[in-house]
């Protein structure tokens, strides 16, 4: 059984308004690393909130590990399984001191003190911020704050973390820190990572990309598959990674180049062989 399963969900913020989510069916496996891509206002943040049970679908049903998010008595268990990191790091830190903030979730779970201590230390270590345990949160950089926010969710030991544009407010180096943390959580601890973004370079890191437009899913597959369909992405007002675009434009000019190249080094290799082949031929 899939970890998260959405069955024909629809959502509107009020009955008079237009639907933000329109008939989505989705299955996300345990331990996967999924990126949800889409331009502004395509409903991707709403979808994230639906998957965590912060919002309830107005149509259809969402099951998190077999638990229905619409069932109020299960809300606590669902939140424990599926944490969420938000866009603005300032608005999700509850306490002024790093370790006190990370302890917030385990405190809410009513865990014994030793267990809270152990979880706080482990979470700090995972995000590489051990030496900041007794620092004031407001003095940290954006990337560090966001790592503390991740640690705060990790301390709950969830099975899945949803990142709702968690890198959008960070500078490039902060963004790198967070993407590295996501990868580590997924590959080393086996946490299911769902990241919502409009940065292509981040989506490339995922194992699976879901492309959204107008409240619907218009593409779902491995990054190489998704990015080889340049026209479809452009129709959803999304740009492809720069190297992919370069190769696409060259191909349009009549050069015989492969599609679905995502990284600059791979592209360089491809071009080198291509140019070399021409010289010899």
């Amino acid at each position: 059984m899939s970890f998260i399963e959405a069955r024909g969900i629809g959502f509107a913020y009020s009955p008079e308004e237009e639907k933000v989510i329109n008939g989505i069916d989705l299955k996300i496996e345990k331990g996967s690393y999924v990126a949800i891509l889409g331009h502004n206002g395509c409903g991707k943040s709403t979808l994230a909130k639906l998957l965590c049970g912060i919002l309830l679908p107005t149509e259809g049903q969402i099951l998190v590990d077999g638990l229905d998010t619409a069932d109020d008595s299960l809300a606590f268990d669902i939140r424990k399984k599926c944490g969420m990191v938000f866009q603005n790091p300032d608005n999700q830190l509850v306490a002024s001191i790093v370790e006190e903030d990370i302890a917030f979730a385990p405190e809410n779970l009513g865990l014994p003190r030793e267990e809270i201590r152990a979880r706080v230390d482990a979470a700090l270590k995972t995000v590489g911020m051990e030496e900041y345990a007794d620092h004031a949160t407001y003095k940290l950089s954006g990337g560090q704050k966001q790592r503390i926010a991740i640690a705060g969710i990790l301390a709950m030991s969830p099975e899945c973390i949803v990142f709702d544009e968690a890198t959008a407010m960070l500078d490039p180096s902060g963004r790198k820190e967070i993407v590295a943390a996501m990868k580590r959580l997924n590959k080393e601890i086996g946490i299911t990572v769902i990241t919502i973004t409009h940065y292509m370079n981040e989506a490339v890191e995922a194992d699976r990309i879901i492309v959204m437009s107008g409240g619907e899913i218009i593409g779902d597959g491995r990054p190489e598959e998704i990015f080889s369909e340049v026209e479809r992405l452009q129709s959803a007002s999304l740009a492809v990674p720069q190297v992919t675009e370069l190769l696409y434009l060259l191909e349009q000019d009549g050069h015989d180049l492969p599609r679905g190249i995502l990284h600059a080094m791979d592209a360089a290799d491809v071009l080198e062989t291509y140019i070399g082949g021409h010289k010899n031929g």
């Binding site: 606590f76 306490a95 006190e100």
Partner: protein, 283 residues
């Protein structure tokens, strides 16, 4: 402009005051406030100042920070001192008289006392509580001290939670205010000229965006807290359980003794004190 506010800021450290149980610190603070306010003789004031110096020195807070915490109050301090200087009438001849301005010996005394009292109040409160206690510890202490009120259905936990979140957001909102001020200045807003009414009006374009963003932040924070399984105070455990050690009680006892001593010193005059000392030595 708002960057220099040191009130409510916590400076992490490992000093005696940092290690003292926050509940004990709150009780100590109450005693401290009492004797700073009652000290009215030279002896009592000297003892109060001595104790303030002691507190400051065991807090391990840097001197520069202390200066910074008094600086914004400079105007208030000077103002109260001047008011006391000129408007205290005393017995006997004035020391200085020019037209309607008369300065009496009592006036100088009052001015100096008021100045010392205010500076002690600011420094003492800062080092006992705000500089050396993290906001969460402080609210935990208040929650614990007010705990008995839960029985008569006072929402103590909610109150403490609100307070700790408010304290947590002070630096964030200050930063935001500065940003809004800069943004409005870039749009030619004028905050400095005009009369009081105009200047107050100029605050509106700062306050409205600030409120709007505060409400938005509150909504997001509520979502984030829910996501982290917050469900009120019931069944909640704590990472840091407050446990008053023997040393904490001794500290409290010492401060209580100091309070009693200052009460006593406040009742006697110099001559009585000298007589008292002479009695002891002659025995």
């Amino acid at each position: 402009m708002l960057k220099d506010v040191t009130f409510g800021q916590y400076y992490p450290g490992k000093s005696l005051l940092h290690r003292t149980d926050p509940r004990i610190k709150l009780l100590i603070l109450i005693e401290y406030l009492v004797f700073v306010l009652i000290a009215s003789t030279e002896l009592a004031m000297a003892a109060t100042l001595l104790f303030t110096v002691f507190l400051v020195s065991v807090s391990g807070v840097r001197f520069g920070i202390l200066i910074k915490s008094v600086k914004p109050l400079l105007f208030v301090l000077i103002f109260t001192a001047i008011i006391n200087l000129f408007f205290t009438s005393g017995e006997g001849d004035p020391l200085f008289a020019w037209k309607f301005i008369k300065i009496y010996e009592n006036g100088i005394r009052n001015a100096v006392f008021m100045l010392l009292r205010l500076v002690s109040l600011v420094l003492g409160t800062s080092v006992i509580v705000s500089f050396t206690t993290s906001p969460l510890q402080l609210t935990d202490a208040i929650e614990s001290l007010l705990g008995p009120l839960k029985r008569i259905k006072v929402p103590v936990h909610e109150f403490a939670m609100m307070m700790s979140i408010a304290l947590r957001f002070i630096p964030t909102l200050i930063e935001e205010t500065n940003k809004i001020i800069s943004a409005q200045k870039a749009r030619c807003a004028d905050f400095e000229s005009g009369n009081v009414i105009n200047r107050l009006k100029a605050l509106i374009p700062i306050l409205i965006p600030l409120f709007v963003s505060a409400v938005r932040r509150a909504e997001e924070l509520a979502d984030a807290m829910e996501c982290r399984c917050y469900h009120g105070g019931e069944g909640r455990t704590k990472l840091k359980v407050m446990k008053a050690k023997a040393g904490d009680y001794i500290f409290l006892l010492v401060v209580t003794l100091v309070t009693v001593a200052i009460f006593f010193l406040d009742r006697i005059t110099w001559s009585e004190a000298i007589g008292f000392c002479r009695d002891i030595f002659s025995k």
